[in-house]
């Protein structure tokens, strides 16, 4: 599904990713952990095409396509979804309108006609209910005045509607209360399938109790310094990062 080879990226001549190698197969769930500032969000940004990064080396293929050569919107409709660490507010644009535009962009890319209004309304209602967001939020501005946790749940609503092939969720679990964490985990698990893959960027073992990862990676200094299974996450929870990053240095 996704193959990252020797990926180097920098911002304003400052190197942030220093040779990432990572292969994600269909149906797999990978957790990416690591200290603040280690480059986790940068990795998500580079994969989804956020402007401002310079790729200095390496390659990424997504289902056989050269991902780095595609515009962000092309990557999206090819099936790549980024759940933002800091979801963005778009005042005055209703959540429903925004998500419908997104759904239709994905449909257009598949050569499907626009979704009919009633069908969409019922889909978005279901997704909002699954995340226990009040349905009147459909008509509020995108993330406008949403609480931190509501914004994160709103990201999952979008993921549920778009059903991406690969979802990169950047700290979607941060800022969620205990119940919301369960809802979000259920949302993720509901989409898990043999064709769909996930990258869960997280600081907490708790999410991984609900969504069992196949692989766990530790990012430090823009490199994957250790990979393992869920046992690694438990060890990190108990011991912190010092022993892995120190070991790498």
């Amino acid at each position: 599904m996704l193959e990252i080879k020797n990926l180097h990226a920098s911002v304003d001549d400052k190197a942030i990713l220093n040779g990432i190698d990572l292969t994600i197969g269909a149906g797999e769930v990978h957790a990416v952990m690591g200290p603040n500032g280690s480059g986790k969000s940068t990795l998500g940004g580079v994969l989804s095409g956020r402007p401002g990064y310079t790729i200095t080396d390496g390659s990424v293929t997504f289902n056989g396509q050269d991902l780095l050569d595609m515009e962000p919107e092309e990557r999206a409709v090819a099936g790549l979804f980024l759940g933002f660490q800091y979801p963005v507010e778009i005042p005055g644009v209703s959540n429903a309108y925004f998500m419908k535009a997104a759904v239709n962009a994905w449909r257009a890319a598949r050569g499907e006609p626009e979704i009919d209004a009633m069908g969409f309304l019922s889909d978005i209602r279901k997704a909002m209910e699954a995340m226990e967001l009040p349905t009147d939020m459909i008509h509020r501005g995108v993330n406008e005045g949403f609480s931190g946790g509501e914004k994160k749940r709103n990201e999952i609503v979008q993921m549920l509607l778009l059903k991406p092939a690969l979802a990169i969720l950047d700290e979607t679990d941060s800022g969620l209360d205990i119940d919301a964490l369960k809802l979000v985990s259920q949302g993720i698990n509901a989409l898990r399938s043999a064709e769909r893959s996930f990258v869960l960027i997280t600081h907490y073992q708790r999410l991984l109790d609900y969504v069992k990862p196949d692989h766990v990676h530790v990012l430090a200094g823009g490199r994957i310094v250790r990979s393992g299974d869920e046992e690694l996450a438990r060890e990190l929870e108990a011991r912190g990062y010092g022993w892995v990053t120190g070991e790498a240095a």
Partner: protein, 483 residues
């Protein structure tokens, strides 16, 4: 990966002007120049009564002693008022058409091109329209249906003939000739415009609409609109404007007067898309317009809504005089400037009566090297007990070279007044654009969506079908050559 501000700037630079064609008609155009003779000529051409000629000549005298306003945040090149032609009429209009069959087919074609078919059956359901082409009103649709309701909707020249008492009673009572330089000029030389009278207790059965277009070269357009809503009546009026694409500048100095008597309501909406000039700032319309509404009666209500995307220079402050007790004034505005456009626009709310209320919502969008100012005055007179105003003033900047300024003034002379003012300035964030794109939307769609969201509070005040139009117009205004 390109940085998106760069790209954005590029394609905003090359916005196309879709209404920029010229209609090839033979026309009766006065040679350039302005003196008493010209004014007599215009008045005679229109077969006006003596009092109106006197009124014009008096305005001309007043105007000669005045100067162009200097206080606006605009750079206005010197305008030679003697080099402008003050009257132009398509030749075939010399005797006004009695029915559509008599209208010059080329004129009809012009409107077709603009997407506004003149035939009644093709009209948006329920919209009556008056067309002002250069200086002359072409045709008013839906006359009979309006006449049944007792509504008078015609060109002002015609109203001078058919309802002289109404015109004489109200003309110039809201915007007198001495009000400002451009109003004085307009009063002297106005050539046409719309007239509306809604009788007591009548709720106008349809939206009324006027469509203005400047076609001839070197002509000024000085239309005059007068709308009177008698006691307990209600009307919604929409004006649309375009002009062809030309290298030289053209002057548009209109006056609009609204009068609402007891319990009457007037909603006046404008979608202005005059030619803004090219990428380097050549050509375009100078739009110097005086619009004022007088809430003369108790519980009267006047609402201005404007979407301004055109003109090289805009100088425009639709205002409300809240004279009647409990009267309400509203101003909702979206102004878009791009390339070298300049706009100084805003409103005045003059609270004279008791418990008068006003609302101001201004949304400015500046792109390219354009410069834009909001200028608003809220005045509360010593008698205006319980006056309230709420002002919301937001600017959205696209790119680093444009500017937005806010000049809110208030003069409060009653202690009970409550005035609230909120202002924000923001840029279309790269993070907003990226958020949309990461969901699969193109950059162009994303900009259009973000801008429309920003303007929503104003769009929802427009009549429904025009809200859709306005949204599209913004998209076109900010559209360009991506890729």
């Amino acid at each position: 990966m390109a940085t998106s501000t760069e790209e954005l700037r590029d394609w905003i630079k090359t916005r196309k002007y879709e209404a920029g064609f010229v209609t090839d008609l033979e026309s009766d155009t006065l040679p350039p120049g302005l003196d008493e003779e010209i004014i007599r000529f215009i008045s005679a051409k229109k077969n006006e009564p003596e009092w109106l000629l006197e009124w014009r000549l008096n305005a001309y005298k007043v105007w000669q002693d005045r100067h162009e306003p200097q206080w606006a945040h605009l750079q206005i090149p010197d305008i030679d008022y003697k080099a402008i032609s003050y009257y132009s009429a398509p030749k075939s209009m010399a005797d006004m058409p009695k029915s559509l069959d008599e209208v010059d087919p080329k004129l009809l074609e012009t409107y077709e091109k603009l997407g506004i078919p003149l035939e009644e059956q093709k009209r948006l359901a329920g919209v009556a329209m008056d067309y002002v082409f250069d200086s002359v009103s072409v045709h008013t649709t839906f006359r009979e249906k309006l006449a049944d309701a007792g509504v008078v909707f015609c060109s002002i020249s015609e109203a001078v003939q058919t309802h002289p008492e109404l015109v004489r009673k109200y003309l110039g009572t809201v915007v007198p000739a001495r009000d400002n330089f451009f109003a004085g000029l307009n009063s002297a030389v106005f050539t046409d415009g719309s007239f509306v009278y809604i009788p007591k207790g009548v709720k106008c059965p349809m939206e009324l609409s006027t469509y203005f277009r400047i076609n001839e070269m070197n002509t000024g357009q000085f239309e005059r609109t007068l709308i009177i809503a008698d006691e307990g009546s209600e009307v919604s009026y929409l004006e649309g404007c375009t002009a062809p694409q030309r290298d030289e500048n053209q002057l548009h100095a209109a006056v609009v007067e609204l009068i609402a008597l007891d319990n009457a309501k007037i909603k006046y909406s404008t979608v202005q898309n005059w030619y803004p000039g090219d990428e380097d700032g050549r050509g375009g319309i100078y739009n110097f317009v005086t619009k004022r509404g007088d809430c003369r009666g108790r519980n009267s209500h006047i609402a201005w809504t404007q979407v301004e995307t055109g003109s090289a220079i805009t100088w425009k402050y639709p205002s409300c005089v809240l004279r009647g007790d409990n009267s309400i004034g509203e101003f909702y505005s979206v102004a878009v400037t791009n390339n070298h456009q300049q706009a100084d626009t805003g409103t005045k709310m003059i609270h004279l009566g008791r418990n008068t209320r006003s609302t101001i919502v201004s949304k400015g969008i500046a792109a390219g090297q354009s410069d834009q100012s909001y200028r608003g005055l809220v005045r509360v007179s010593p008698k205006a007990e319980g006056a309230r105003n709420h002002t919301q003033c937001d600017s959205l900047l696209i790119g680093p070279k444009c500017g937005a300024h806010t000049f809110p003034y208030s003069e409060v002379r009653h202690p009970s007044a409550i005035l609230e003012h909120e202002a924000t300035t923001s840029r279309i964030g790269e993070d907003q654009l990226f958020y949309c794109r990461s969901r699969g939307m193109s950059e162009e769609d994303a900009v259009s969506m973000i801008v429309n969201g920003f303007c929503k509070d104003v769009f929802r005040e427009l009549p429904m079908e025009f809200a859709v139009e306005a949204g599209k117009l913004l998209a076109v205004s900010l559209e360009g050559a991506v890729g």
